[in-house]
Each structure stands twice: as structure tokens, then as C-alpha cells.
Symmetry: C2
Subunit: 206 residues, 2 copies
DNA sequence: GCCAAAATAGAACGACCGTTCTATCTTGAG
DNA sequence: CTCAAGATAGAACGGTCGTTCTATTTTGGC
């Protein structure tokens, strides 16, 4: 029967919204039941345990993230434009109420081993890898210097994102967005090839 | 009577250790009572409410942070050495079990208004300001370029710290420390004056 | 339209939470 | 040494948590 799957998906959509604001473990079955109009036990039956619900929420978040950040960026031209698109779509993603789900969940789960944490680690690694891959392409396109370490730049871009989250959402710093963009631009500039066409673009065969 | 203050301080020291691992709200009165050997009510009487305990824990953390990070750095020579010292002492501070208290607590409290959050915001602002001030001095000493925006560099250094925390504690990335140091060095280099003595050091009168 | 299977509801559970109350120790000033 | 004040303990409270159990309703293949 397909009814079960449909309500399960509806629950997860609502659960993700809630968890984005109150955190993964702040998400309670009672509150989620109230928010969806189901009974506690009726909702519970869809997941079997709170832990399984948390895993499902993390996976739901990852799926929405792919849809809203990764996929649109992949439609941009290879190289620096795509790196920039990843960053900008992340900025938009972080504007939803509660900020970036992964930033909040990371701090919450990093000292709580178990399947929810594992799922979140996987999602974050995928995200960092996506940045590093885009950077790698930008290097091979000659947009960034040939001696660029893609993983290093991904690490640094990730830091700008985290700082952005903290300064805007937590410190309520008015200039947060401006600082964020400036930091990102400075970062790209420091890795950019002096002349965009100085390096011969790597041919597809190599 | 001084006995009360002494045990209160002992409780806070233990509370900070605990909160560093399980988070500010993961710290429960029952567990803390067990950890200190007191009864729930006996411990509770020292603070009057859970919220007041949380505020006290944040203030305890801030005090230890000043002692272990700020004060030693202030003993270093003005300018870049002091900026570097702030960073390195923070690295050491983040090595304790649970990582950097403030990084964890920030994500936990950023959507939970109230006195604990306010206390934490103040502590973080003090920290960012301390970095920015050290940077400002480094500029006036001619160690960093004159057009350096100290708040911007503080924002970026903060990002490196956050990224460091995530990559080492959460992602368990083996190269986290190396990436952290490289990111910091790259940052300083990008702001460093080409010739350390090119700028005339601002005389004390100006 | 029937009827097993699936989906949902409702009540109850034990555990732990923060908090309150009362009683009992312990302290230290006079 | 006395004795009020302070510090601590113990039991109990209402509330919420995740979870389980048992009904009841709803679904959809036949």
C-alpha cells in the first residue's frame, strides 16, 4: 500500500523543518505528532525508534540539500563559476529558518556516536567532496593555480561558511553577509591563476 | 560562610567539564549531582534554576578561556606574534575532551533565546574582539598591510577555527591539524606587508 | 463488496527531567 | 559552647520523553 509511504514522506518534510529550528535531538516525537496532526503512536509506527527517525531526518535533509544546492550548481559551467555557484546556493540554503541544518546538527551530534551521526558525517563528507571536486575542475580549467590543493581550498571555503553561520545567526552581526562574500572572494583571489589563460586547459584525453 | 562558595566553584568546574562533552543543555542536574557526589536538591540550591546554572557554566567557561588562551597570548610581543599566539593557544584549548566549548555551545543556543545565550554571545564577541584588536596592533606595527580590515581578518580566522573543529572532531579527518595551520598561514600571508619594515611603525603619539 | 493487511489512535508504562518541600546535618560568629 | 543561619539530603510533584500494548479505522487486492 502506498498510503504509508506518502504520510511518511509528509512527516519527514515537516520533521526536517522542525529539526532545522530546534535541532535533531530537540525534535521530539510528541511535538512532531502535534505538528503533523497524527498521534504519537501512529507517527512512531512509521519509524520504529527515535534513532531511526533521526537518521531519516538527516537523510531527508541531505536529499533536499542535493536538490537545492548541488544540482543547480552542476548546471553552471565547469570551473570557477561552478565553485561560486556552490557557495552562493549554500548561502541561500542557510537563509531558511534555523540556518544551515548541517552546521547545527554537526555540533549536536559530534559527541554522540551512532547511526544518526554516521549519516550526518556521510552527508557532510559528500558536501566537502563536492566542493573539492568543483575546485579540482577549476584547476584543470586553468581558473585556479595549478599548485592548488583542492581539499585545502574546500577546507577553507567550509570555514567561511561556518563563520558566516555563526556571525549572522548567532552573533547577529549586521555585516555578516558582506564579510562572508569578501572572505570568499579573497580566498578565490589568493588561489586564482594570475592570467586566466596562462595554463593550457587540460585536454579531455589527459 | 565561605563553604558554600567553595563547593559552588567545585560544582562549576565539574559542570564545565561535563558540559564540554554533552553540551550545555545535555548537562542535567541529576547527572551533575551524581558526578559531584551531591544530592540533586543540594546542588540545585546553589543556583536556584537550571537556567542560572547554565549561565554560570558559560561564565565559568569564559573565565577559563581567558586564563588559558587570552592571558598567555597577551604575554607575547605585540603584532603578528600575538595574533599567532592567540591562534595557537586556541588550538590547544580545543584539544580538551569535547573540543572547544564555545563552538559546541554556539550551535546549541543560537536558536534558544535567554540569559544563557546572551552570556555566550558576550563571550564570543569578546573573543572575536580580542582577535581583531591583536590584528589592529599587528597592522600598526607594520606586520600586516595597512589596508587590512581587522574585523574582516578576525572573521576569517574564526572561520579557520570553526573548520578545524569540524574536520578534526566531527569528520575525524586525519589531516585536519595540518590543514588548519596551512589555512592560517595562508591567511596571514595574504594580509602580510610585502616588506615587514616597509611601513613606518605608528609612533605612540598617533 | 469482502476481508486480511496496513495505518492510525488511545491509554499506559517506566525513566528522567526541573523543581519544591521538609527535615536533618554542619558551620562559624558571638 | 551555643545556636541561628547556611548547607545538604531525601522524598515527592507534575511534566515530558521514548516506547509498548491493544483497539479501531482505513486501505486496496481479489
Amino acid at each position: 500500500m502506498a498510503k504509508g509511504e506518502a504520510t511518511r514522506q509528509a512527516i519527514l518534510a515537516r520533521a526536517f523543518e522542525l529539526a532545522n529550528v530546534v535541532g535533531v535531538s530537540g525534535l521530539t516525537i510528541g511535538r512532531l505528532a502535534e505538528a503533523t496532526g497524527l498521534s504519537k503512536s501512529g507517527l512512531f509506527a512509521h519509524f520504529g525508534s527515535k534513532e531511526a527517525l533521526e537518521v531519516a531526518v538527516v537523510e531527508e535533509a541531505a536529499q533536499q540539500f542535493v536538490q537545492e544546492v548541488m544540482v543547480p550548481a552542476l548546471r553552471e559551467p565547469r570551473g570557477e563559476p561552478r565553485v561560486r555557484a556552490l557557495f552562493e546556493h549554500w548561502l541561500a540554503w542557510g537563509q531558511r529558518p534555523g540556518g544551515c541544518f548541517f552546521v547545527g546538527a554537526t555540533a549536536e551530534l559530534d559527541d554522540r556516536p551512532g547511526p544518526p551521526r554516521d549519516a550526518l558525517v556521510q552527508a557532510c563528507k559528500d558536501w566537502v567532496d563536492a566542493i573539492a571536486t568543483a575546485v579540482r575542475i577549476a584547476v584543470s580549467e586553468g581558473h585556479l593555480r595549478a599548485d592548488t590543493d583542492p581539499d585545502q581550498l574546500a577546507f577553507e571555503i567550509y570555514g567561511v561558511m561556518l563563520s558566516s553561520h555563526t556571525f549572522s545567526r548567532f552573533l547577529h552581526e549586521p555585516a555578516a553577509l558582506e564579510r562572508t562574500c569578501r572572505a570568499f572572494e579573497r580566498l578565490l583571489a589568493s588561489y586564482r591563476a594570475a592570467d586566466p589563460r596562462a595554463r593550457t586547459p587540460t585536454p579531455p584525453t589527459s
